[in-house]
């Protein structure tokens, strides 16, 4: 079991590291997707089937497409547009500073968290139980999340919709 966990960890971290090192953006995006798939494998390892399949469906199926489309549709960066030249000391210093701040905040958060002691036996869950929990106890939260996502979706549609004159060729 531990060997499997180690393998999954190596895949997740290796894919993430490789994604940062690649020069090709599409390769980076695909490696990032591999890393997400590794997270799904970890959920499967931990016995959380439902979350694992949801992870694959949402991240590997949907968000991957958003990332890939974003990469393809974004204009290639011209070197002249950059505020700081790549490969200079100023850029490296900024990167290290930002990374260190981020690491500090994250590790502070991890240190400050109190984890409950592990249960003696793994809790028995089924999709039905998860559904009941979501719909009864956390029903309000679920509704609020749904409303926010719907508003975001409608906003995106409004932004994307262009009111051009219909092309006469399109109308029969």
């Amino acid at each position: 079991m531990t060997a499997a966990l180690l393998l999954i960890a190596v895949v997740i971290l290796g894919a993430a590291a490789a994604a940062m090192l690649r020069r090709n953006l599409i390769h980076s995006a695909l490696l990032l997707i591999l890393s997400w798939a590794g997270v799904a494998a970890f959920y499967l390892w931990a016995g959380a089937e439902f979350v694992a399949f949801a992870q694959v469906l949402v991240y590997v199926g949907a968000i991957s497409m958003v990332v890939l489309f974003a990469v393809l549709l974004t204009r290639q960066n011209h070197v002249g547009d950059l505020l700081v030249e790549p490969g200079t000391r100023a850029r490296a210093t900024t990167a290290v500073t930002v990374g260190a701040c981020m690491a500090a905040v994250l590790s502070a958060a991890v240190m400050a968290s109190r984890f409950p002691p592990p249960a003696d036996h793994a809790p028995v869950t089924s999709v039905r139980l998860i559904g009941l929990q979501l719909m009864r106890q956390h029903g309000a939260a679920l509704l609020i999340v749904g409303v926010i996502l719907t508003v975001a979706l409608l906003g995106a549609t409004v932004l994307a919709a262009t009111e051009g004159k219909p092309d006469p060729e399109d109308t029969p």
């Binding site: 695909l30 439902f50 399949f53 694959v56 469906l57 199926g61 991957s64 497409m65 999709v127 029969p172």
Partner: protein, 416 residues
């Protein structure tokens, strides 16, 4: 369900055969052999099913178009045999000849292509299209993997196809491949939504994501003195869901009339432009596996899975019922391919977003109404059916009318 049918000899025969074979192995290996046999059986049966689907498709399409179809492939002449079968076997060995041809063809990879991704794309697409078969209940006791969240698993496995199509289009380093991969993705993403929404009513009514439990709930019911099949397609919401599912399944598996991604007669094979030989065959294979798996899901969810229509017919083993229904679905898809014309890309996306998605959403509400009115009895039962039917039919007619208003008759401005 009567226990006699469960222990019927034919019903049990494949299981007995498997157990007999597994017993040859030492105890610690038995579970492995057990699973391997399941995998090999699924691969062998659906591999052959794929082969004969292609020949059935070619023959049926030929009949639709008043041709004969493939009828020349017989058996090869083996020199070590003293005799040769001259009969052509009605061309039934055609898929094996096709397979040999695909394997022996030269595999050409463009010089500028991204070699690794170009190789990985067909592998991923076949692997993930096969994964869907794991959760289909082929018979009363023939479910390869009994998952609690089987439906979610099925759609998760299917979602990787989009990634493979993107990889195929992008790695070919060809403008046409990339553009048509984008078109294919737009189509797949558009139709994923109605496909999943058409399945939600089933989950609402049955209260489970497990395919085994969903089939078990489609047994028989006894209104008065007759026994009828309780398949979900025979309820108003089930019927509407089934039609939406069929249309979305056609689009998801790139079948005519939604075969824009690789419209053979007008585009150059879309994202498969730079593929040749066996890799091309792999994409082709994945398309048929995907179609078969989706048809199997449709049979499981709407057509009662392995359930016989009447208790009397339970003498026929359950897996034969499943395969029979599956074959009917496939033949229906072939018939559609021979009949309908290809859509334009704007018509295709419009059909999904303006028509199928709203109807599917309404159908989810319809299923909720069905659950809430489950305790209605007597004459109220008729009211329940009428209301549910109205929720299906009225929006269909109203939206259909308003969306096609002003579209006919077609006038030609440039041609006399």
């Amino acid at each position: 369900m009567n226990p006699a049918a469960q222990n019927h000899f034919l019903e049990r025969a494949p299981l007995e055969l498997r157990d007999w074979f597994v017993n040859f192995f030492p105890d610690p290996l038995q579970w492995l052999v057990h699973h391997l046999i399941t995998i090999v059986a699924v691969l062998a049966i659906f591999g052959l099913f794929f082969a004969f689907t292609t020949v059935a498709e070619r023959k049926l399409l030929a009949r639709v178009q008043n041709r004969l179809g493939p009828n020349r492939a017989g058996l090869p002449k083996f020199s070590f045999l003293p005799w040769h079968l001259a009969h052509k076997l009605w061309g039934l060995t055609q898929p094996f000849a096709d397979a040999v041809k695909a394997i022996t063809k030269e595999d050409i990879v463009p010089a500028a292509a991204d070699k690794a991704l170009h190789f990985l794309a067909p592998v991923i697409v076949v692997a993930f299209s096969l994964m869907g078969f794991a959760v289909l209940p082929f018979g009363r006791q023939y479910l390869p993997v009994d998952l609690d969240a089987a439906l979610l698993y099925f759609f998760a496995a299917g979602s990787a196809t989009e990634l493979a199509i993107f990889m195929a289009g992008w790695s070919s380093r060809n403008k046409y491949s990339l553009l048509s991969a984008m078109r294919a993705l737009a189509q797949l993403i558009s139709y994923e939504l109605p496909l999943i929404l058409s399945v939600v009513p089933i989950v609402l009514v049955t209260g489970t994501l497990s395919t085994r439990a969903i089939v078990l709930q489609q047994g028989f019911w006894h209104p008065g003195f007759v026994t009828l099949p309780h398949w979900f397609v025979f309820t108003p919401w089930g019927f509407a869901g089934f039609i939406i599912f069929l249309i979305a399944a056609l689009a998801e598996s790139n079948r005519s009339p939604f075969d824009l991604p690789e419209a053979e007669s007008e585009l150059i094979a879309g994202h498969l432009t730079e593929y040749s030989g066996f890799k091309y065959a792999l994409f082709f294979m994945a398309e048929y596996f995907g179609l078969t798996a989706l048809s199997g899901l449709g049979v499981t969810l709407f057509l009662g899975g392995w359930q016989a229509p009447f208790p009397l017919l339970e003498v026929v083993p359950s897996y034969l019922w499943f395969m029979g229904k599956l074959i009917l679905m496939i033949v229906f898809f072939i018939w559609v391919r021979g009949t309908l014309l290809r859509l334009r890309i704007d018509q295709l996306t419009r059909l999904s977003w303006q028509f199928l998605v709203p109807l599917a959403l309404l159908n989810v509400g319809n299923a909720a109404f069905w659950v809430l009115s489950a305790h209605w009895a007597g004459p109220l039962q008729l009211v329940r059916w009428a209301l549910s039917l109205a929720i299906v039919i009225v929006p269909f007619v109203v939206m259909g009318r308003s969306l096609t208003a002003g579209y006919a008759p077609r006038t030609y401005r440039y041609a006399p």
